[in-house]
Amino acid sequence: MGWVTIEALSVSYGDTRVLDDVSLRIPRGSLVAVLGPSGCGKTTLLRAVAGLLPVTAGTITVGGRLVTGPGVQRAPEKRGMGWVPQDASLFPHLTVGENIGFGLPRTKQSDDLYCEPGEAPGGVAGLLEGLTPSGRMARTRRALVRSNAPLHASPLAPAPISPDRSRQNNRAGRIAELAVLVGLAELVDRAPSQLSGGQAQRVSLARALAPRPDLLLLDEPFAALDPLLRSALRTEVAALLHGQHNTSLLVTHDQEEALSLADYVAVMRGGEILQFGTPADVYERPVNPWVAGFVGDTVELDGQWKDGRVECAFGVLAADWMGAEMVPRDGTRVRVLLRPEWLTLGARGSTHPPVDAVATAIAYAGHDALVSFALADPEKTLVRARIAAPDLPRVGDRVTLGICQNALAYPLAEARAANIPE
C-alpha cells in the first residue's frame, strides 16, 4: 500500500477524456516521476491530485486520508500538499523570506510578536519591529543566527535539524531554516525580481516545503531553465528531497530528468499510464516499442520467434518475450528491439557471436557517438550503435558487432490488428 494512492482516476473536459482510469501508488519518501509527451495529461493528473480541478471519477488518498473520491473533493488548501509550478510563480509583492513563509500560519505563538526570552528587543520597539518589513527581516536574521545555520551552507548539506521543537514551530525560524536548506540564506530580503531563474525555482521549492507537506507536487520545475543550470539544479533538488524524506510527484517530458531523478517512473500517453517501474525497468524492459522509443534510442528490427530466440538481420539472438500474452508459437513474426549501447564493437562482452558490419555514418556527440552500421544480410539492414569515443571507427570501416544483452521481442501491432476481424 502506497503512502499516496491514486485509484481509477478519470478527468474529462467536455467530451474529451484527458485522464482515463489512472492508478498510481507512491511509496512514502520516494520521488515518482510522471513522464510523457506534451498533451498526454500529466499536468492534468498533477492538478487533479492537487485539487485544482475537479475529477470525473476515482479516488485519491494521502496517508490514509481521502482527499478526492465519490462526493469528496477537498479544497486545495486543505490537502496538505506542496506545489512547485513550472515558472516558480513567486509572489512579486513579497520578499524571498515572506514568500517562503507564505504558507506558515500566522498565529500569535509563531508570528511576528514571537520572541525568545532574553532575545527580545523589548517594549514598544519589539512590538514595532514586527510591523515593519525591515524589522521582520532583522528578526529573520536573528533567527538565522539562533539556528546556528552556516550562512553559506552548500545546498547539498543535510538539513540542520534543530532538536528544539518549539524553535521549529517558530515561523521566522522555519523560514531561515529553509532559506539555508536551498542555499539562499543571504537573499531572504531580496525581491523576487532580483533573482535568477534557478534561484527563483529554489525559493519556490522552499516555499512549498515550508508547511511540511505530505506530498510535494512538481510541475516540470526545471523546464524553463537553461540546460546547464537545469541538470545542476535537478541533481541538487533530488538530493534535497531525499534528504528531507519527502514524498514527491514530479511531472516532466524530459526522459533524462525522469530516469536520473526518480525512484519510480510512470510513463503516460493519451491519458493512460502505460508503465510504472524503476528507471532501470522502464529503460531496459519497456512494455512496448512506443515506451522504448520514448525513454531512449532504440534499434528496431523485424524477426521471427523461435523457442526463446529470434531470427533477425543479426542472425539468431537470445531474446525475452515482452508481449502481454503467452509466449508465441515458433515462426510468429515479432518486432525485435535493442538499445544502441547493447551493441559492442568486436566480441568483447558479447553473449552472441559477432556479425560483420560496415560503418556508414557517425553522429558525433563528444563523449560518444551514434554510429550507423550496415549489416551483412541481403537487405543491408541499418542499425545504430552507441560507441564510446576512443573506439570510434571511421565511415567505411569494416567491423564486427557483438550484442551484450538479450534482445526484446514484441508482438507486431499490425499482426494483432489483422487478427481481430477474424
Binding site: V11, Y13, V18, T44, R47, A50, G51, L52, L53, P54, A75, P76, E77, K78, R79, M81, G82, W83, P85, Q86, D87, S89, F91, P92, H93, F102, G103, P105, S204, R207, A208, A210, P211, L217
Partner: protein, 526 residues
Amino acid sequence: MTELLSPPLETDAPPPARVTGRYRAGVPAWLLLLAALCAATAAIPLVYLVVRTTEAGITELLDTLLRPRVLQLTVNTVLLAAAVTLSCLVLGTICAWILTRIRLPFQRTLLLVSALPLAVPSYLAAYGWLVWFPSLNGFWASWLVMTMVCTPYVTLPVAAALRGASADLESVARTLGRGPLRAFAAATWPQIRPAAIAGALLVCLYSLSDFGLVSMLRFQTLTWGINAAYGASFDRNQAALLALVLVVLALVVVAGERRSRRQVDRVPGRSTMPARAPGKASLLYVGLLIAAPLGGVVVPVVGLLSRLLEAETLRAIDVPRLIEAIGATLGLALAAAVVAVLVALPIAALAARYRGRLVAAIEAVGFLGHALPGIVVGLALVFFALAAVPMFYQTSVVLVFAYVVLFMPRAIGSVRSSIAAVPQSLGDVSRMLGLSPFQTWFRVTARLALPGIAIGALLVAISAMKELPATLLLRPTGVSTLATELWSRTALFEFGAAAPYAAALVLVAMVPAVLLSGIRGTAREN
C-alpha cells in the same frame, strides 16, 4: 505609451492574455450572479429608452421618424461623423508613420504631444476656438475642431501597431522589387489596418455622440436635436425617438469596431525598423505631427489663457461660485469613481478568469455605456427616474448612476487587465499553501491588481468631471459643475466669464489625465 490619456483606447489594447490552464473548474455561481446583476444596471438606460419609445405606438413612431426635421438631423450627424472619421484616419495614419519610421529629435515628447488632444473635452476645444473666432459656426468649423481633437484616436493605436508590425516583411517586399510606397501598402498596411480601422470607428463613435462641440459651433446634429426637443418639453417623445436613432447609429459603429479588432494576425519578426533620417522634409513631418495638438490643445488653451488674464475677467471672478462648482465636480466624480469600480469589480474578475458565451455576454453588457452617448443616457435616466424612482429624480443619485453607466467600461477595462495580469499560478500556489479562495483573493490577486483598480477609479473620475450632456440633463437643481458652468456661459457668448471655469476644468481634469498617462508610460518603458 500614452493610450491612457483617453480611457476608451484602453479597449483597443489586445485583450489581456487569458490564463492558459486548459481544464479550469467552472465559474462559481455566486460570481456569475453578482456580475450579471452589476452588468444589468448598465442596461437600464437602453432598455428603458426602448420601452419608452415603443409606448408611443408604432404609427406615431414612424410618423415622427419620417419628419423632414428628423431626417435632416440624421443626415447632418452622419455627414459630420463620416467626414471627421475620414480626415482623422488619413491624418492619424500619417502621424503614426512619422512617429515610428522617421528619426526625429525628442521622439517621446512628440508622442506625448500628439496624444494631448485626447485630454481636451471637445466643448473646451470649441470654446477655445470661439474665443479667437466668435463667428465660427456650422459644418466646416465642427469638422475642423473635431478632427483636431479626435486624430489621436487613430494615431496612437496605429503607432503601436506599426511598432509591433514586422519590418522584415517590408524589407522582403523591397527586395522583391516593390517601391517604398507599394512595399508599405503590400506588407505593412495589412498589419496595421485593423488598428487603423478600429481607431477610425472610435472617432466615428465620438463624433456621433458629441454634444458640446456641435452645440457651441451651432451645427444641428441628433445630439443637439435631442437637447432641443427635451428643452421644449412639450414633445419628449420626439427626444426619445431621436435618442433611439442615435443609439442605433452608435451600436452599428461599435459592432463594426469590435469586428475589426478581432482580425489581427501577428507576423513574427523583428519589429524595430531602423528609422530613417528626416532630411529636407523634416519641417513638413513636424508640421503634420503637431497640427492636431496645435488645433486641439494650443489654440484653445492659449485662447482660454488670454481671456482669463484680462483684467476685466480677473475682477469679475465669482470665487465662491467657482469653488462651489469645483467642489460639486470633484464630489460627484469621486462618488462615481467609487461606485463604478465596485460595480465593475465582479464583471472584471469574471472576465479576467473565465471564458464562455455567458461571460462574454455579461462583459459586453457591462461595456454598453461605451456605445451610449452621454445625452442618451441622461435622457433615458430622466424618464426612468420620473417613472420608476421619482424620489431620486433631480438628485445626485441619478447623476452618479449615469456616470457609472457611462464610464464603467473604463473601470472594467483597467481592472480586468490588471487582474488578468496576475498569473493564475500565483493563485494556485496560494491555495496549495493553505489559503482559502477569499484569503487568496485579498492577499494575492487584489493586492497585485490594486494599481490597476486605482487607475480604473481615476479614469472614471476624470471622465465624469468632463462629462457635459448627462450632467446638464440630470444635475440636481442649483448644482453646477465646471462643465455646465462653462457651457451655459459660452452659450451666452460670455467668453470672459467662462474662462475661470474652463481653466479650473483644465487643472482638475486634464492635468491628472496627462500625469496619469505619463506615469503609466514610464512604468511600461521600465
